[in-house]
């Protein structure tokens, strides 16, 4: 049984609870201490409920996914929210396949910051439909709410991405967020490989930029060598 590996990157402003959310999901623990992240990586095995996630895909591709198995490995990269570390972001985005964009419902500016991040992701992945979930964390702090549900939902609608409100502290909606993202990644994966089947070149063109640039470099090489006269 082959195990698919998917790379998830958790992004968002400082102090919104990215690490708490991730640690709850992966290790079922609540982190109380003041411990800003620089860069942490996690791995988790997850059962994906294939039947519900592929209602909309064609039958042939569905069977191919089923044959590949239902258990996936999630490689989760938890990043620094501190803005001084932005120089590392681009690399994270290149390596990620799905993104959790997290803000705190107690801070409007933490939601605003995400728009720029999303633009950057889409630019780098060269894919406006990149798997992405908007997460409003700290839903247990209802009395301090500064971002209305409607407001955040409108933002997510504009992006064409789902919106969840989570509480890492109470472990509310935590698994759901990761599951949704995972389904999106698988779906996108299937779509892309189907595109590859039908139109090989088109599919490759739309694969992630990293792939493309690697290919381009390879073609550089062949050109280099073709021209060797010696």
């Amino acid at each position: 049984m082959s195990q698919r590996e998917y790379h998830i990157v958790v992004l968002g402003s400082g102090g919104v609870g990215k690490s708490c959310l991730t640690a709850q999901f992966v290790q079922n623990v609540w982190i109380e201490s003041y411990d800003p992240t620089i860069e942490d990586s996690y791995r988790k095995l997850m059962e994906v409920d294939v039947s519900t996630s592929f209602v909309c895909t064609a039958r042939d591709t569905l069977t191919s996914v089923l044959q590949q198995g239902r258990q996936v490995v999630l490689e989760i990269l938890d990043t620094a929210g501190t803005e001084q570390f932005t120089a590392m972001r681009e690399l994270y985005m290149k390596s990620g396949q799905g993104f959790l964009l997290v803000f705190s419902i107690t801070s409007m500016s933490s939601l605003h910051e995400l728009a720029e991040l999303r633009d950057q992701i889409i630019r780098i992945k060269d894919d406006p439909r990149v798997p992405l979930v908007l997460v409003g964390n700290k839903s247990d702090l209802e009395e301090d709410r500064a971002v209305s549900r409607a407001r955040a939902f409108a933002v997510s609608q504009g992006w064409g991405s789902p919106y969840y409100e989570t509480s890492a502290r109470r472990r509310a909606n935590v698994d759901e967020v990761f599951k949704d993202l995972c389904r999106q990644i698988i779906r996108r994966d299937v779509e892309l490989s189907r595109a590859t089947d039908t139109d090989h070149r088109e599919g490759r063109r739309r694969r992630d930029t990293q792939d493309r640039s690697r290919r381009r470099r390879r073609s550089n090489r062949s050109r280099e060598h073709r021209c060797v006269i010696l």
Binding site: S33, S110, D126, E224, C227, I229, L230
Partner: protein
């Protein structure tokens, strides 16, 4: 000591535990309370005042070694200030283009956007000097900016009102223009006062302790920008550059300690060499399984030791650099300490240290360790192994500064010995960081001096002035609620803010700053709460110091103990030096006045005054060495900043040429093919290219290198042919077609090597070379 405060303002003394008062003040102007009353310190301040006032009078210029060294240092500092501002602006442009060029390379940019980017590039040129449209505007903006500069609370308030999108340009104006003289105590202190005001607000408005200083806010943005100024840069370079550079040399040193990663690498290596995997080593194990694997443990064990050693060496350097840490950074730490103690009176030292670490390590030290290139600490991009190691170092330092929760990455527990061994050391260090003197007193003094100065000037662009004006106007309802306040009056007089000018019409102006509301300096004694005796005493002291510094060395007059009456006499009777004569006469007057007042006594040789003058002179002697040493360090900083500047300019040039080229091509499709002249070939010897760093590595044997040369040709704009030749042979050994796109893309992907079989070229350096050689008027 007074002079030390004056000359080297950014290095306040650290041994001031006794005079340190944890009281924090909201505003410099309100500091007329009890804590500012130590007589001695007041004296020093007054001396500083005198010295700095007299330093402004041209006729009193002293020409000794110290004065010359100080002058050189001042000039150097001014150059660093203006250069770091230029870099800040250039960096913004390059960042913008970095993202756009990627799209262009992928051919995904619409023509309109291409034009927009091109406009942006055209604008990126040096600004010309100019003037305001009329004198009235000059005067009114001069008044406004004087107010903004001398009363930081307005900008502090504004910083809280603007959005994060607006704040960048505001901060640029604030940090690099309004308070742009990074080494001038008054501007530095005013800027820090502004920091304090914003920090206080943030502490008051953050609900819980764990969110303090975490979010990206105006304050954190200010901190980022602040650390980009000269003193912060030079500190990082001094403390970190050497360690980081020696670490990135070790490209093959793999210090990964995440068992999963180690296991996977091990498994894939075995698979590659043996073709199959042994049955006890399956792929896709869990973290726990990987951690239990004995081979993995054996690989990790020595790495842990080495990581701890490296982290220790970083930590030791940082701790040893306590005295080198910029005053402003330390002062901010101190504010964090006092604010958190005020908000949480029961907080332990440890808790306070966590917050200090949340600033000092998280926002200052560690970003530079993790991404050293963006801090100008290294030239290239580090290879994967050293990069990972640097990330580990930063994580360890951050863990040390905070309470590590191993819940996040369990394998980090293995590094616990490092935490245990250093916990106390680092807490002490962070508390030591806070031990700096406040500056309110000297600031007050500086502000009086500023009022008396006739030549306070600000070099600022018209657009900066207009943008600031516009922001003030937009938030006037909040900022200028009180209609009679100075800010309201000035804004009302100015009317509405002019629109931003196109870059071509933007100008740099020298704006004279002065207060609309002159504060008379006559009642200085009242304002500073000092007596006439003290004023005389200080004037006498500074006058004698000036005389002594102007005397030739080794005259009998310089012998100790000083005979003040004779010195005064000698000065008063100097030939052909009216300034000296005036000083002499004045000092005679002062001596007798002070004696009449009973402050000094001729019978003991004016001991009270004499001793202080002698101390001052000793101090000035050792100061020269300090000034020379500081100059030496700053020279280096200046060089780095300039190097970075030429890198940025070159990058912009490349983009510009590329863009012209692309646009030329898309135009060419619709019109007739333009005529293109073939440029080149230009010949370069192996030695030349090696010297310029274009050749990064050469496989040509030493003795053959003299016979190797290269030809660079550009048959079409944006296309190059590089050929490698051996003397005496007609045909080249090797020929390489290059497209500018490819080079740019390689550079973007941090691919720095271009393989020509016999030699490795450095991609960036090749771009520089092509840039220099093949610049066509319209593209390449």
């Amino acid at each position: 000591m007074a002079a030390a405060k004056l000359q080297a303002p950014s290095r306040a003394s650290t041994s001031s535990a006794s005079s340190f008062t944890p009281v924090s003040r909201q505003n410099t102007m309100s500091s007329h309370d009890g804590s500012r009353s130590m007589r001695a310190s007041k004296r020093y301040s007054v001396t500083a005042l005198y010295l700095s006032m007299s330093a402004k009078e041209k006729d009193l210029e002293i020409e000794d070694d110290l004065a010359r060294a100080q002058k050189a240092l001042r000039e150097l500092k001014a150059r660093i200030s203006s250069q770091s501002k230029k870099n800040f602006v250039l960096e913004k442009d390059v960042r913008y283009l970095d993202s756009r060029i990627a799209l262009l390379i992928q051919n995904r940019m619409a023509l309109e956007e291409q034009n927009e980017v091109a406009n942006h590039l055209d604008e990126a040129a040096e600004l010309q000097e100019g003037f305001f449209p009329n004198d009235e505007k000059t005067q009114k903006y001069g008044n406004l900016l004087f107010l903004l500069q001398s009363e930081p609370r307005h900008i502090a308030h504004l910083c809280r009102l603007v959005t994060l999108a607006e704040i960048d340009s505001l901060l640029q104006t604030v940090m690099f223009t309004i308070y742009g003289n990074q080494y001038e105590s008054r501007e530095e202190h005013l800027l820090l006062t502004m920091f304090q005001s914003v920090l206080t607000y943030q502490f008051d408005n953050t609900p819980d302790y764990s969110s303090l200083l975490r979010a990206n806010t105006p304050v954190s943005r200010m901190m980022t920008t602040y650390t980009r100024r000269g003193p912060g840069q030079s500190y990082l370079k001094q403390v970190l550059a050497e360690r980081i550079n020696s670490l990135i040399e070790l490209k093959d040193l793999d210090l990964e300690i995440n068992p999963l990663k180690v296991y996977e690498k091990m498994v894939s290596e075995i698979e590659e060499s043996q073709g199959t995997l042994p049955p006890n080593m399956p792929k896709g194990v869990t973290a726990e399984q990987a951690a239990e694997n004995e081979k993995v443990q054996a690989i990790i064990a020595p790495r842990l030791t080495m990581l701890m050693e490296i982290a220790n060496s970083f930590l030791s350097t940082i701790i040893a650099g306590l005295d080198e840490t910029p005053y402003g950074i330390r002062w901010i730490c101190k504010q964090i300490r006092s604010l958190s103690k005020r908000k949480y009176p029961d907080a332990s030292d440890h808790t306070v240290c966590t917050l200090i670490g949340g600033f000092f390590f998280l926002r200052f030290i560690n970003p530079a360790i993790v991404t050293p290139r963006s801090y100008m600490l290294i030239d290239g991009t580090p290879a994967d192994n050293p990069k990972r190691t640097l990330t580990y170092i930063a994580k360890m330092l951050q863990n040390l500064a905070n309470k590590p929760s191993y819940a996040k990455e369990p394998y980090m527990v293995k590094l616990q010995p490092f935490i245990q061994q250093n916990k106390e050391r680092i807490n002490k260090f962070m508390l030591d960081l806070c031990e700096v003197q406040d500056f309110y007193e000297s600031l007050e003094m500086d502000n009086y001096v500023a009022l008396s100065k006739k030549d306070l000037e600000l070099s600022i662009t018209l657009n900066e002035v207009y943008a600031t004006h516009e922001l003030l106007e937009r938030h006037a309802a909040e900022l200028a609620k009180d209609e009679s306040s100075h800010l309201s009056v000035l804004l009302h007089e100015l009317g509405s803010a002019p629109a931003q000018l196109p870059r071509k019409e933007n100008r740099v102006i020298n704006l004279p700053l002065f207060s609309k509301w002159e504060t008379p300096l006559d009642d200085l004694t009242a304002a500073l709460d000092i007596t006439q005796e003290e004023v005389y005493f200080m004037e006498a002291k500074s006058t004698f110091v000036v005389i002594m510094r102007s005397l030739p060395a080794n005259t009998p007059l310089t012998r100790r103990p000083l005979r003040l009456d004779r010195i005064a006499e000698a000065a008063a009777t100097t030939r052909n030096d009216s300034v000296m004569v005036k000083k002499g006469i004045r000092s005679i007057e002062l001596l007798s006045q002070l004696q009449e007042l009973g402050v000094i006594d001729k019978s003991d040789g004016f001991a009270l005054l004499r001793d202080e003058i002698e101390q001052e002179l000793v101090h000035l002697g050792s100061m020269k060495d300090k000034v020379v040493e500081e100059s030496r360090k700053l020279e280096e900083v200046y060089r780095t900043i300039r190097d970075h500047n030429s890198y940025l300019i070159n990058q912009l040039e490349t983009y510009k040429s590329y863009l012209h080229n692309v646009r030329g091509q898309s135009e060419g499709k619709t019109r007739k093919q333009q005529k293109h002249q073939v440029l080149g070939p230009y010949k370069f010897t192996h030695q030349q290219l090696e010297k310029e760093g274009v050749i990064q590595k050469s496989n040509v044997p030493e003795n053959r290198r003299a016979n190797i040369y290269f030809n660079f040709t550009s048959p079409l704009p944006g296309t190059f042919v590089i050929s490698l030749h051996y003397k005496g042979r007609n045909r080249g050994l090797l020929e390489l077609d290059l497209k500018l796109d490819d080079l740019l893309e390689m550079q973007k992907d941090n691919q720095e090597e271009l393989d020509l079989e016999y030699v490795l070229f450095n991609v960036s350096k090749v771009l520089v070379l092509l840039n220099k050689r093949f610049t066509r008027k319209k593209g390449w």
